[in-house]
Symmetry: C2
Subunit: 306 residues, 2 copies
């Protein structure tokens, strides 16, 4: 036995043994209780003696007496073991006291539709958790890969199997226009749609709306007369003009102004999915947040169907 060996090779089980020996004031009783050989306890105490630089237990007739320092060390070991056991077992997550942050990378669409209610419920349920939003801008997958966010939300189609995915709602494109627009009068024919004065949302060139691919498949080409980098001024741009924009239905609903919403002559579904990585897969906070997000999306979908 080295005189002053380090505490490093002492494991938690050995600390438990120390406490038990202290309580029972007996090596052999401890061995019986732990169902091991008595010499195993002797050896364990021997290691503890070296690591803690104290005899810990000294022979005293039949049995052993604990040193002063041993008593102090046992008191501390008890505290530590309790704390360890609490931490080692999966934490019962409690949103009310939860700390930390949830970072979501998404686009204008989600920020206008899902996020407001999600934020409200997050703040109500977990007041100490911070919510951080990033603009995905077509790079949601990068944000996720580089751990810049915890969740990517949107119609991204992240590549690879390295991420978890959960579908949370399905949207589809609709057409919005000024109520005075002739197209607002009835069903819109495909040819009429093709001839309309279109506003395009370019997403700063980072992403192409899905309906364009659907049009291409139908060999229809439409050219924009107005191009906007995002949806934020769309409503004001269209109002009082003959412009039409093709945008997700949820987004159209979210526009409180007086634009007319019309069905498209073709249906293009938009699958809004939630992606996350192994890093946050088992986190209580993030599991809870993901559940909440799915719930909000479901409620949003219901409202849409009604």
């Amino acid at each position: 036995m080295a005189a002053n060996s380090s505490i490093d090779p002492i494991d938690i089980g050995t600390l438990r043994t120390l406490v038990l020996v202290y309580d029972l004031r007996s090596f052999s009783a401890t061995a019986k209780r732990l169902d091991v050989n008595q010499s195993t306890i002797s050896y364990a105490v021997e290691r503890l003696r070296g690591a803690l630089h104290d005899p810990l237990f000294v022979r005293n007739g039949n049995g052993v007496a604990a040193t002063e320092r041993c008593a102090a060390l046992v008191g501390w070991a008890r505290d530590m073991i309790g704390e360890i056991d609490g931490l080692a077992s999966p934490v019962a997550f409690d949103p009310v006291t939860a700390q930390g942050s949830v970072t979501i990378s998404c686009n204008y669409h989600e920020r206008q539709t899902l996020i407001p209610q999600f934020s409200a419920r997050l703040r109500a349920g977990a007041p100490q958790v911070r919510l951080v939003l990033l603009d995905a801008a077509g790079h949601g997958d990068v944000h996720l890969k580089q751990n810049q966010c915890d969740i990517v939300l949107g119609p991204v189609g992240v590549v690879g199997e390295s991420f978890f995915r959960r579908h949370i709602l399905t949207d589809h494109y609709v057409c919005v226009m000024d109520p005075a627009n002739p197209l607002a009068r009835g069903r819109i024919a495909l040819s009429a749609y093709a001839r309309a004065e279109h506003v395009f949302i370019t997403h700063s060139g980072e992403w192409q709306p899905l309906y364009l691919a659907a049009l291409k498949a139908r060999k229809i080409e439409i050219a924009p007369v107005v191009s906007l980098p995002n949806h934020d001024s769309l409503e004001r741009i269209i109002a009082g003009t003959r412009l039409v924009a093709t945008i997700p239905h949820h987004l159209a609903r979210a526009m409180r102004g007086g634009l007319h919403v019309a069905a498209l002559p073709f249906r293009v579904p938009i699958s809004i999915d939630m992606y996350w990585s192994a890093r946050t897969a088992k986190s209580g906070l993030h599991k809870w947040a993901r559940g909440l997000l799915a719930e909000v999306a479901k409620a949003c979908d219901k409202g849409h169907a009604a």
Copy 2:
């Protein structure tokens, strides 16, 4: 790897590895730093994963990213390691904040001579430490063996090699008597001493004063005219009489009354020693207390010589 193995086989060194991997965000850098093989770190993290029920680190391009739970666990591990290191290394004992108690088994002699000053200095230096005194009554060795006391003080001569011993002062016997006693007039001859009216202290029959053995060796027999169980009323008993008592010099000095102190015609040294056991040998408090006791004894000895 078992899915939910216990934390028991995790040792402190492995926790240190966890923290280092977290700080460096790299297994191989950790391996280099610790001068071990990279697979050793992989294996260590694997064990931690099982014990803590969390992936802890997930691959993230070149390098790894820590999970939320990992960050929390590392925070806790840091605290714990700091505490452990503080406890594992011999404690820097600070009397001012020290808690605990010091139990001393001794006799009237020491209680009258050394203990008062020891108590005063103990209370001044370590206000939160309790001092407990036991009456040795010839059983100091038993008190020590059975852990009923921390220190035995006195001329005991504890048997066996199982105890530590430190000599703290040497006393010797003197004779005390009323100042009017004829013997008080000059040096006392051995024959006159033998004929005197002796008071014996019997120590309740548990212990024989050492000077009796010295007299026996000189073939001198003295018979007591008064026998007392201890020294406490000796002064009042002798005052105004022709009685003489043979007692340790320090004790005689401690008697503030007007008794005459005379040297004996023979010198019998009394070695006052301090005994303790392995149980308290390394205790900071007890080491300090023993040092203090020796210091007090030394001062007492000086005062005696002067």
